[in-house]
């Protein structure tokens, strides 16, 4: 089963990168970020020189290694089932690639087997996956 990890989504989910032992860059310009409007903050942080390609690339590499790890298990399920009960949106069918040793999970949507998110689970999320094959 081919899975795809694209840079745009990895960049969007970069705040989970430390879960995969990827350090977020030290950002000496947070004061500057504060001075920007929301629109320009997002643009600023999308700048590859601010959130460098190296960091995003490292996150993608770690996600790939997680998927290829022989101790990682594949489990068909959903994402967003709990949000659906709050009328946020329909849950997304897809595949969880979960490693019980690290507690990390990467979710690929059925639609194109595209990367959707990847993070370290807390116990609540582990139970949700165990009982309902779902997270979030």
């Amino acid at each position: 089963m081919p899975f795809f990890i694209d840079e745009t989504t990895a960049r969007k989910k970069i705040y989970h990168a430390p879960d995969f032992n990827v350090a977020l860059p030290d950002n000496p310009d947070l004061e500057y970020v504060k001075s920007l409007s929301t629109k320009y903050r997002l643009k600023y942080l999308s700048d590859q020189s601010i959130l460098p390609q190296k960091c995003v690339g490292e996150y993608m590499k770690k996600l790939g290694e997680h998927v290829l790890d022989p101790t990682t298990e594949i489990q068909v399920g959903t994402l967003g089932g709990n949000g659906a009960t709050k009328d946020w949106n329909e849950s997304i069918p897809g595949t969880h690639v979960f490693n019980s040793n690290t507690g990390n999970d990467v979710f690929f949507a059925d639609d194109g087997f595209k990367f959707h998110t990847g993070m370290k689970f807390n116990y609540v999320q582990r139970i949700d996956l165990e009982d309902n094959n779902n997270i979030l």
Binding site: Y15, H16, P18, D19, L24, L30, E31, V33, K34, T38, R41, L42, L45, L79, G80, N82, G83, K86, W88, N89, E90, I92, S100, N101, T117, M119, K120, N122, Y123, V124, R126, I127, E130, D131, L136
Partner: protein, 180 residues
């Protein structure tokens, strides 16, 4: 979910899991019923850690609802606090004496449900540029949800801070907190 926090059984399962891990296995692989039971105790401990550190969450959410920070910075900090909570839990699980002294506050469950909802909302937040049908919630709905949840968090009557899990922050979060 096991509601009773049976610390003796929790420690017994932790020891069993550790023993199996030293042999390249785990409760997850060997006994899914006991693994599930271990998770249920882990949730109770985790909820208490969240509750003990509630002021960090309340302070962060307040910064967002008062427009001091935007949703991106909120998420970066929120997930950082979550990582620290998980690290505290791992540390406590390794220290059985400390674990056996943990007391559970009845409000921790209620508070942690709000944090779980915020986590889900942070993950579901989508840029306004994404199509209506795309998975997730808009910033407008996200903000409304956080405002409502913030009030609920404040309404959970606070008790004196815990002595079992004193404030625990990494250098990076302290720096971020100072800057934000």
């Amino acid at each position: 979910m096991t509601k009773t926090f049976n610390k003796i059984r929790y420690i017994e399962l932790l020891k069993k899991d550790q023993s199996l891990k030293s042999k390249n296995s785990s409760l997850y692989k060997e006994d899914r019923i006991e693994y599930r039971e271990l998770l249920s105790y882990g949730v109770i401990l985790y909820n208490q850690i969240l509750y003990n550190r509630r002021h960090y969450y309340i302070s962060l959410i307040e910064k967002y609802v008062t427009n001091e920070i935007d949703s991106l910075l909120l998420r970066i900090q929120f997930f950082q606090i979550q990582r620290e909570d998980k690290k505290i839990e791992k540390d406590v699980e390794k220290n059985f004496e400390r674990l056996s002294n943990v007391l559970i506050d009845s409000k921790s469950d209620e508070f942690s449900m709000l944090i779980t909802d915020i986590f889900d909302a942070c993950e579901a937040l989508k840029p306004d540029s994404e199509p209506e049908e795309a998975y997730g919630i808009t910033e407008l709905r996200f903000r409304a949800f956080l405002e409502k949840t913030f009030l609920q968090m404040k309404n959970i009557k606070s008790l004196p801070g815990s002595k079992w899990f004193p404030g625990y922050f990494s250098k990076s979060t302290v720096i971020l907190s100072t800057l934000l």
